[in-house]
Symmetry: C2
Subunit: 272 residues, 2 copies
């Protein structure tokens, strides 16, 4: 009986430790010391935990073989669960009280909701896993929580590009870019030590209209010798159809904000 209680206790603790650090590889030796359990026992635990997580659509465990191997939790989302999350978000965003003078849409309450952004970050991890990014890159301000949660899902650093040319982060690289909406020339900058030459960067942002900001980030990454392996945004406008970036993934499409009729049309982009 004692043995069985121990097994449950161990599996509960293992589940918590693994799932609270997505994509982090843990060696069986680490758990072996922590729980005073044989590796064969822990392998059985991982098998059981993995099955249970998959059964309830809560992600999966991945085993990496070899001396430097171990096990990690991947917060993958199924097509079904992505679809229902995006439907929920689009419905929440499509209410007329969100319309702001000037044809803008108030979305900060959603963009700053940690749990929702964690789930959207898991969608981006699922969609961009094949690109194996080294860092997530975004520009201040509204996209930061989403980019942070995407970086968390991948277990990689976040890089935040600053607007303007702030200098309290040491030597920086700056570029000028044209905002798609107002056609103004602006500056964005990145501390040199934040992004290594040769790094593979995944750009994540909350919103894309003409794509000028994303274009600026791609240019900035190129400037330091990094490579952009993907661009993901939560919402993109349907117009202009041709953006300043060729290749991007959007989860939602905003096709109408009418101040007169108080109409907002925002729909999931499915299949993604």
């Amino acid at each position: 009986m004692t043995e069985k209680i121990k097994r449950t206790e161990r599996r509960v603790a293992l589940t918590k430790i693994l799932t609270s650090r997505p994509s982090q590889l843990f060696s069986l030796s680490y758990f072996s010391t922590l729980f005073e359990a044989a590796k064969s026992t822990l392998s059985e635990d991982m098998e059981a935990i993995g099955q249970s997580l998959e059964q309830f659509g809560l992600g999966k465990l991945e085993t990496v073989a070899g001396a430097s191997g171990g096990v990690r939790y991947l917060p993958c989302r199924s097509m079904d669960s992505m679809g229902s999350l995006l439907t929920e978000l689009s419905e929440k965003m499509s209410t007329s009280d969100r319309i702001i003078t000037g044809g803008f849409l108030y979305m900060s309450d959603i963009l700053y909701d940690a749990h929702r952004m964690a789930r959207v970050g898991e969608i981006f991890m699922t969609l961009f896993a094949h690109t194996s990014p080294d860092v997530v890159m975004t520009v201040e301000t509204k996209g930061i929580p989403l980019a942070m949660m995407t970086a968390r899902a991948f277990n990689i650093p976040l890089v935040i590009v600053r607007r303007g040319s702030k200098v309290t982060e040491g030597p920086a690289v700056s570029i000028n870019y044209v905002t798609g909406s107002s056609k103004r020339i602006q500056t964005m900058s990145l501390p040199k030590r934040a992004l290594a030459s040769g790094a593979k960067a995944l750009i994540i942002d909350d919103f894309m209209k003409a794509g000028g900001t994303a274009r600026g980030m791609i240019d900035l990454a190129r400037e330091v010798g990094a490579e952009v392996v993907g661009t993901g945004v939560l919402v993109a406008t349907s117009e202009p159809e041709h953006k300043l970036v060729d290749d991007y993934v959007t989860l939602l499409i905003l096709s109408e904000v009418d101040e007169q009729t108080k109409k907002v049309v925002i729909t999931p982009k499915m299949p993604i």
Copy 2:
């Protein structure tokens, strides 16, 4: 045997669901439907999961009685675990290669590390739980990941104050404030709909020198009729000793950055 396997599967899934939404109250009815299990069975599960989490210092479960009751996961941290995290952070921050011309310290890699900020956010939740905040409030940019993770631990919304007076978030309240370091007058603003009158706000930021920014946020909160119930920062400088806010909690103290001798002194504030 089948029954026992089911029990483990259920407890693994319950652990994942509860711990990935800190402070969120789940009703037993919700789990009863999800797992087709009796509430008495689920109560036993919660007992076992709670014990296991506490045994390994992974937080605890709290049961709320009554019709609208249920169970929630609280990511509380022990004094020991807080101490070791703060020691780790202070050592990582005290390296001479972090010194930037002008006497600044490069900390963005740490401030934008999702896992570290999640753990610091749990410290703030533990320290400020008694203040029962309704929202976490911060100002752009570097404190956003930490504030977001604190909001996640509390399961409450995040409010981000903007520097300057951006107008794409609707009617806003603005105030002027004096930055402690450069003594310049700056503006910060908050969309009116982001913070309700009467709300209890917890201010979280990465850094405090003279306290001008925190003072500004307190004034801004007062302007919309909200109440600031606490102020927490990751790092505060030892000088000036008297800050523009009376009451704040800092986790680390920065007492020296010497460009000449390349010396950085930063230490945990213990007991917190």
